[in-house]
Each structure stands twice: as C-alpha cells, then as structure tokens.
Amino acid sequence: MRRPPQTLTILALAGLMFALAACAQLRALPSLPASHPEELATGPVSCAECHEDQQKGTLKAFAAFNHSRAFIANHRFYAATDDILCATCHKVSFCADCHTNQTEIKPATKNGNRPDRFLPHRGDFLTLHKIEGKLDPASCYRCHGRANNERCVACHR
C-alpha cells in the first residue's frame, strides 16, 4: 500500500528536525584543546599538579593520567580509549617510535641517548627473545603480529 505524500513529508520533516536537534546538541558538547595551552616540562608529567577537576571531554579524573611508572607501563589501556587526550601533548610520531610497521631501527637504538624512556629490547634481545617468546608470545604479537618484520621472517619461516 502506498503511503500518502503528506505522511512522507511529515516523516522527512521529523527526521530533519531530529538531525538538527542532534547537531545542536553536539555543538554544545565541550572539546579538548588541540594542544596543551602551556608548554610542559620535559619528562614524565603529573596532570594533577595543576588540574584538580574532572575533565570536561573525557569525563575521567586528570589524576588517572599522571605519568607514574605504572601508568607508562600500562598506557595501552588509556591510549585505546583516550588517544585524543594523549594528542594534546604527544605528537603521533612519539607513539610511532615504537608502535609502527616496518621500522628501520629498533626504538632502543634510535633513542640510545634516552635510557630513561621505557623502550623495548635493550641489550642482547636476540638471545633473550628465544626465552621470552616462548614464555609470553602474546607480548611479541602486540607489535610484531601482523607486521612481518623482515628480521622476524628471516628465521621464522
């Protein structure tokens, strides 16, 4: 049965009003700044030193993002849900030092002048990986799983 043109018009108008109302609501939602308004000191930061309140955008307490050793070691949980907050201070290339495909040099060599950074595979990891790889292959998979790094496939095929 064909619907009368008036019904379609009313439905279209209702849809348009709903879309406009949704857009109006979105325009009222706050956004994080594209970059941190003040230059920060180098090294791990403590967000809660200056920010006492809860963030508007991500609705999580700033203190949750203090860069303690525990935070850095487990940053995957935060980066997977709040990368837009990470981007206010970190360039994507900071992440891509480790999280990349087909990189030329291992991160610990590229940044050999920064022993304070938590960069993987320091020292003779060629020997160590024969133990660590059997122990926890999922930890290898996170970075090397589908990257087919040339140095991996040289032996593991």
Binding site: L59, K60, A80, A96, H99, T109, L135, A154
Partner: protein
C-alpha cells in the same frame, strides 16, 4: 590500484606543505649514521654504513584553523654493503611512509576526521590503513568512531608472495561514559578475505582478520580504577584475549595494582601469517595466563620506587618474574637515573634448547644515568643478563652503552653513541652511531609566538 592510492595520498599530503608555510609548523628530523661489521664463519666480512633519515612534519592551523597535516617516515641509504631483506631485490635505498594524513578538528564534541595513511588505536583495534576515519562524542555520554580503507601491506612472507592480509579494512568503536565513574566500549575490525597461503601446514591455523571486543574502565572511588578489555575472534569462534587491571591508591604516592591476562594462541594469532606458523604441533589452543601484582611508591617528586611480581602459566610450563626498580628524576631532564633488578625463574621447557636439566632462568640488572645541560648532554646505560645455565657456552649477555652530545643551537643537536658488550651471539660486540637531530616550531603569520 593500491600503489596509485598510496601515491595519491602522499601527493595530497605533499601538496599541503606549501600551505604549511603559512601555518604553525613543526619539523623533527633525526639523521643516524651507523657503522657495523658482520663476520660469519665461511663467508667474507661485510662492512655496513647505513645512513637513515627519520622525518616528522606537523602543520597545524591550516585553512580555517581547524585543518592540520601530519607526516612521518624514514629513508635509508647504504653507503657501503647493501642489506638485502629476505625475498627482496638488492637495493642501496629503502624507505617507508609510516603515516601521512590530513586531519580536521571540529570545535565541539571532540569531533575529528582524518584522511590519508594513519594508525587507529580504538578499543581492541590497532591497525594501520590508507583511508578515512571519523569520531565524535554524542549527547548523554555516548561516543562513536569509524574507519575504513585499504590495508597497508607489509613485507611478504618468503615463498608466499603475500603478507597474509586482506586488501580492505573497516571498523569502529561505540562507547558510553558516565561521569568519572564508568566507561564501556564495543569495538570491532573487519578485514576483507585473507589470501590463501601455499603452506599446507597452515590449514585451520590461518584465516581472515575479524575481531569483536569490549573494553571497560570503572572508578567507583577516586582511589580505585578497574580497567580491561577482551577480544573475540569471529572466525575461530573463540576468545582471543582478556586483560584486566585493578589499581588502588590507598595513600598519596602509593599505587597498588593487580592484573590478569589470558590468551588463546590460535584465536589470537589466527590472522598472522607469521605467528600462525609458530603454533606448536596440533595443539592449536594453547592457553597462556599471567597473574601479577605491583607496588609503586613516589617518595617525593624526584624519587619513585616500584616492585613487581608476575606468574606465567602456559600449557608448556610455568614461570615467575619478580623484581624492583628505583628511579630518580630532576626537573627539566637535568639528571635522570635508575637502577633495577629482576629475576625470571622458568621451568625447563622455556629454555632455549629444552631438556630435563636446562633452564630459561636469568637475572637482569640495569643501571642508567643521563644528564642534560644547556650545552652538553650524555648518558650511560649498563644492562646485564646473567643466565642460570650457560647459553651457547656463555653465562651472561651484557652491554654498556654511552652517549655524548652537544646542543649546537636550541634546535640542533649532534650526539654519538658507542656500546660494547659480550653475549651468546658474539664474543664481543661494539656498535656506534652518529645522530643529528633537528626539532623546531615555526609559527605562522599572526601567531602569538
């Protein structure tokens, strides 16, 4: 088609560069000159002198101020012997574009759109693609993101003529947040059909890359955080991964944490042409579990101590790792130092060559310090692995690395690294490199800087 798309995306990014001159632009460049010699029994010694250039370019506030362009990649020129990757033609040059994309940020709702080559880290999704993505917060605490495009192919598996990936990639995440209390997310990734690999041993072990997952963040009290994620492989119909972490801050500066991780090898490695081959025999569902705990205590703004313990259990055997670390940081990076000790105790099955009297256990010692002044900077880093049972006749693998550099200008620095050590691979190993870094920010017309 894929090559054309990649070139178009790179060209689009490069076309944006002249506009970058009018915007707020930052350039980071790292040039590395390495020298090393490979000498193997039965073959001639080879000298390698690769010159590698990493370049990052970020141009913000383009156009109406909401558009930005981002580029990062590397190129290598071999000045002596050429490194030939398995299955690839000999060439004195190589390079990759890691990412190159345009981004548009809207004024509200943390909304943004990207086009080009970029990485996606959303929930359980970790991918690199040539395509488009968009995200926005929605009213009432909801949020949504989506992406789609062409897969970025990596090195081919020797003998297969493919990297094992499908050509198209789609996915996204839908989330809900309630105050500072709760976040729940649902995410997924769908890759088009994976190529058929010639290796008959991969039957039942390798296939399409399709995952669904959820993530959780819960903070019922400001002292407590529970976070985690789980992924489900829709091809193998099994849970691939579950990871959960509980953190408690009972005192200022003290953080206690417990974590649990579980993996099923077949479900997790199913879409990796490389890892699928590593599954042992016919035991396709090897289970890995880790259970651990840690304590971190910030004694003051400069000093942080931590201790950790983790128990590993696999079908193969079990192991545990425990240790502690101390870190000292002066503001502005003037002095940073650290010391750490860990011990890994494993059952004999984790030894490099398993046998009843073999061991994969080792002690790990680390000491480092770095100092940065207005004109000079330097670091020393010692790492030593002491094996409980000899590995290839060696009781340890150690390396002492030093770096010394100077700030030629506030933006330009020259440094050199030299390391020396001994390990089961080499009686002694010496490596060196020269590093030139340039990092600057150019503010455009009208900018406050």
């Amino acid at each position: 088609m894929k090559k054309v798309l990649t070139r178009l995306l790179a060209a689009a990014t490069l076309l944006a560069l002249p506009a970058a001159a009018l915007a707020e632009t930052s350039v980071d460049s790292t040039s590395l000159l390495r020298f090393y010699q490979e000498s193997r029994a039965g073959s001639e010694s080879k000298n390698f002198v690769p010159l590698t250039q990493f370049l990052t370019l970020d141009a913000d506030k383009l156009g109406d101020g909401h558009l930005s362009a981002h580029l990062y990649g590397w190129g290598r020129l071999d000045l002596a012997e050429h490194y030939v990757a398995p299955g690839q033609a000999e060439s004195s040059m190589d390079g990759r574009l890691s990412y190159g994309y345009l981004q548009y940020r809207f004024d509200a709702a943390n909304a943004q759109a990207r086009a080009g080559r970029f990485f996606v880290h959303e929930g359980i999704v970790n991918e690199q693609l040539d395509g488009v993505s968009a995200r926005t917060d929605l009213p009432y605490g909801f949020g949504v993101s989506a992406f789609g495009g062409a897969t970025v192919h990596t090195s081919f598996i020797p003998g297969e003529g493919t990297d094992g990936k499908g050509d198209g990639l789609f996915g996204g995440r839908f989330n809900y947040r309630y105050g500072g209390l709760l976040e729940l997310g649902l995410s997924g990734v769908y890759e088009t059909k994976a190529p058929v690999l010639a290796d008959p041993a991969l039957a039942g072990r390798f296939g399409d890359h399709r995952l669904l997952g959820g993530d959780l963040w819960l903070s019922p009290h400001y002292m407590v955080q529970l976070m985690g994620h789980a992924s489900y492989n829709t091809e193998t119909l099994g849970m691939a991964e579950q990871s959960y972490r509980l953190q408690v801050k009972p005192l200022k500066g003290l953080l206690l944490a417990g974590e649990f991780n579980e993996y099923h090898d077949r479900d997790m490695f199913y879409s990796s042409a490389l890892f699928a081959t590593l599954l042992n025999g016919n035991n396709l569902n090897q289970l890995s579990r880790t259970l651990g705990g840690s304590a971190n205590y910030a004694l003051n703004d400069q000093l942080e101590a931590s201790a950790d313990y983790k128990h590993y259990s696999r079908d193969l055997g079990s192991a545990e790792r425990l240790g502690a670390e101390l870190r000292y940081n002066l503001p502005e990076g003037k002095l940073r130092a650290g010391a750490g000790y860990h011990y890994l105790r494993t059952s004999p099955e984790f030894a490099i060559i398993p046998s009843s009297d073999a061991s994969g256990s080792f002690h790990e010692l680390r000491l480092f310090a770095m100092r940065d002044t207005k004109s000079l900077f330097g670091s020393l880093d010692l790492i030593d692995y002491l094996f409980r049972k000899e590995v290839e006749g060696k009781r340890s693998a150690w390396e002492l690395a030093g770096s010394l550099g100077c700030h030629l200008t506030p933006d330009l620095a020259l440094s050199g690294d030299l390391s020396y050590g001994g390990n089961p691979q080499y009686n002694d190993e010496m490596k060196g490199l020269l590093r030139l870094t340039y990092s600057t920010k150019i503010a455009g017309k009208g900018d406050a800087k």
